[in-house]
Symmetry: C2
DNA sequence: AAATTTATTCAACACATCGTTTATTATTTC
DNA sequence: GAAATAATAAACGATGTGTTGAATAAATTT
């Protein structure tokens, strides 16, 4: 499973580079962030940066994929009861993870992050919930459209939730998303 | 209303710059596109670029706001019957516009474009449909979450629609989005 | 149609960041 | 402690940036 253990120095270098980058990303769009700048902030030699990342966008992507595998690992740690409300439980766990890592997640899911990542996040839900979905038989093409709607819609909700300071609990948000997905507005009137 | 008419040369310059830029945007992410490159493609002097735009991102933003005001103008040209299906009609018109301008729109709404624009597009729908929404009384905070879900979800559907070559009609897509928004999956089982 | 205004071009500029290299130093691992 | 590996420092040519001022070309105005 674990591929050797990585050198402490590498761990440190990557950590400070990530932190400096996220810090800068809070202040300005990625397009205005230079590699020189990231390295100065992190106090890491520029040549060292290049031995780990090809550019800012590569660094961003590595942070994102790190988060994704982190979420997957986090979910793997739980077994969900098969009583028809698995989707809510899974969503709840994901939202809890997002809550616990709000600093990074709020940047990555904001308009500073990129669209493809946002979709990747919610594809995890899709993957986890897919068995429940397919119980409700609809034709495949239609199902894919419903997926797109539900997945991107959920990202929108999470985005708003983060922006407003996460006032609701992860559980409440999960219930809301499931309701919206299953019954739309009619669930709330 | 109209603020003088703009010089023909300006019109031309801006047009070819936009075209060249969109062409490049189909090939690679905006971060890899240089101003030098756009100008060579358009056969426009680099100094001229700077007299109209500050950088690639400014150019992108201007294209986007152009599209938005274009859609608004397009919608203003129609009056919608007030028989409870206004939302469908408005959505249909918007989707027709997207269809007619598929080349630009598919780039702008893809992961090449930026998130804020995608949300702006669907805020037009929100604005247009808001009266119909508020009929169904829900509390304001909840309503905003529902908006977020519906709006971003709809963008997801449109994105998919464009990517798959717009097989459905604008009308069909409008109906699908309205159904998903109002009744969720339950509308399709 | 000529005069005037305005846009674009051209060439040059100093400047910053880029991405790579090479020798040297520091740290970690075994 | 020895060997291996990572980070540093300094230098490099290369490339794109953003701005300039003078010359040219095209539009609009009269």
């Amino acid at each position: 499973m674990k591929s050797k253990k990585t050198d402490r120095r590498i761990k440190y270098t990557k950590m400070v580079l990530r932190e400096s980058f996220v810090k800068l990303l809070k202040q300005k769009p990625i397009s205005k962030i230079t590699i020189k700048e990231i390295c100065e902030e992190a106090d890491i030699n520029r040549a060292t940066f290049y031995s780990h990342y090809s550019d800012q966008y590569d660094l961003l992507r590595q942070i994102e994929t790190g988060l994704l595998s982190d979420i997957n690992e986090y979910l793997a740690g739980y077994s969900f009861s098969d009583n028809g409300s698995e989707s809510i439980q899974i969503l709840q766990k994901i939202f809890e993870y997002v809550q616990e890592n709000a600093e990074v997640c709020s940047v990555m899911l904001s308009d500073k992050g990129d669209i493809s990542f946002q979709q990747e996040v919610m594809k995890i839900v899709q993957k986890q919930c897919i068995s429940e979905w397919t119980k409700k038989s609809v034709n495949k093409e239609l199902a894919e459209y419903i997926y797109s709607f539900a997945v991107t819609g959920s990202v929108g909700v999470v985005h708003k939730w983060l922006k407003e300071g996460m006032k609701q609990s992860a559980r409440e948000l999960a219930e809301m998303v499931i309701n919206l997905t299953n019954r739309g507005i009619s669930a709330f009137v």
